[in-house]
């Protein structure tokens, strides 16, 4: 039980997809100008993340490596289209507010990243919990960013004007440079809180390439050979 809870909780801070893994930066910057659109994007992405994680985990033994990525993309695109249709039908105002960024969930690195990093190697329940944790982490990061940007940048919260902020607005926070500034500050804050215990991304070598498992040829093999030779020389 503790393990299951740990799977959910790790997505909140320790492995937060936005502020630690630095995935999904585009929708984060684009939709965090207002709290309402950030919340809508977070919920939509969480729904897609959980459904795609469950589906990919359930099919992981059936999908051959050769067509792994195309299969994941088809599954993710299917769920995104379903969410899009439901939102256009029943939440048209939110659909208009999110615009093209709703469709762009298909290429959100968090969704494909979790499919590749977690769902393809773990069971259905664990993958669903991972999706929930990562989704909540994504939504929280968006909400924190949107709260800062909307409150200080536009002097409002969830569209409600805050009269006491009228004199202290910093409008650049609602624009792209302000978004990057808040994003950087939050990453620094999370880094400080986790004191460097957050997972460090592997170096950009062949081993950390998603295709390394079934590639192992050409430049990959050459790089490995060179690395082994280097180690051997060092040991000698």
């Amino acid at each position: 039980m503790k393990n299951k809870l740990g799977i959910v909780l790790k997505g909140l801070v320790k492995e937060n997809p936005v502020l630690v893994l630095v995935l999904g930066t585009c929708p984060t910057l684009a939709t965090s100008t207002s709290v309402v659109s950030a919340l809508a994007m977070g919920i939509a992405a969480t729904a897609v993340l959980v459904c795609s994680n469950v589906c990919i985990s359930a099919l992981r033994k059936l999908i051959p490596d050769m067509v792994r990525i195309p299969c994941y993309i088809v599954v993710i695109a299917g769920f995104v289209s379903i969410v899009q249709m439901l939102m256009e039908a029943y939440l048209p105002d939110l659909y208009d507010m999110l615009g093209v960024y709703l469709a762009l969930i298909v290429v959100n690195c968090i969704i494909l990243g979790r499919a590749e990093m977690y769902a393809k190697d773990n069971g259905v329940v664990d993958s669903a919990l991972d999706g929930v944790g990562m989704g909540i982490g994504f939504t929280l990061a968006l909400l924190v960013m949107a709260t800062i940007r909307e409150t200080i940048g536009a002097g409002s919260f969830a569209g409600i004007e805050l009269s006491f902020m009228e004199e202290f607005k910093i409008p650049i926070l609602t624009a792209a440079p302000g978004g990057f500034f808040v994003f950087g500050c939050l990453i620094a804050l999370v880094n400080h809180i986790t004191r460097g215990k957050a997972p460090v991304r592997k170096s950009f070598d062949c081993e950390s390439c998603p295709s390394a498992e079934f590639c192992r040829k050409g430049s990959c093999t050459a790089a490995e050979t060179a690395e082994k030779e280097g180690n051997a020389d060092g040991n000698a």
Partner: protein
Amino acid sequence: MKKPMDVKVKSIIVLTVICLVVTALLAVTNYFTEPVIEAGRQQKVQDSLKAAIPDAESFEELGLPANAPGSVVAVYRADNGGYAVVLAVRSSYSSGDMGITVGIKDGAVVNAVLTSYFESKDFGQDTYPAEFIGRTENDYAEIDDVGGVTYSSRVFKGAVGDAFTVVEMITGGESE
């Protein structure tokens, strides 16, 4: 160990089956949501007519003239003598139509409303369409194109021109 050909055949079959299942799920979702989406779109058009000519109480749909511009979807005559033109225009780089309703009365734009545009985040929050209010066929083209709006201002201006054209065709050039 599996032969490479077996793996290829299995890959093709699995990918095809996944595509078919996803397509079926989309078809089912579309079956249930399509009428609701269509009703919502119609409601948006009706609301935009009222926004285009706020003084009017009712609107009567007119037939389109044979050589009306291709962007014109429908034309409505308001009970106060104005015309509301519903247009769907597209810029060369966008993936979806921009829905615009233009209200024209006494030869001048009463209001121009952006009703839908898929690629625009913060949809409808800019003030560009309001610049056309009060403009006539002779001076609407003087409004500058602008950068920074999330849709093509040039295409928007073209739509207003098309609205003037179709209203002129219907009224025969008389002051409407």
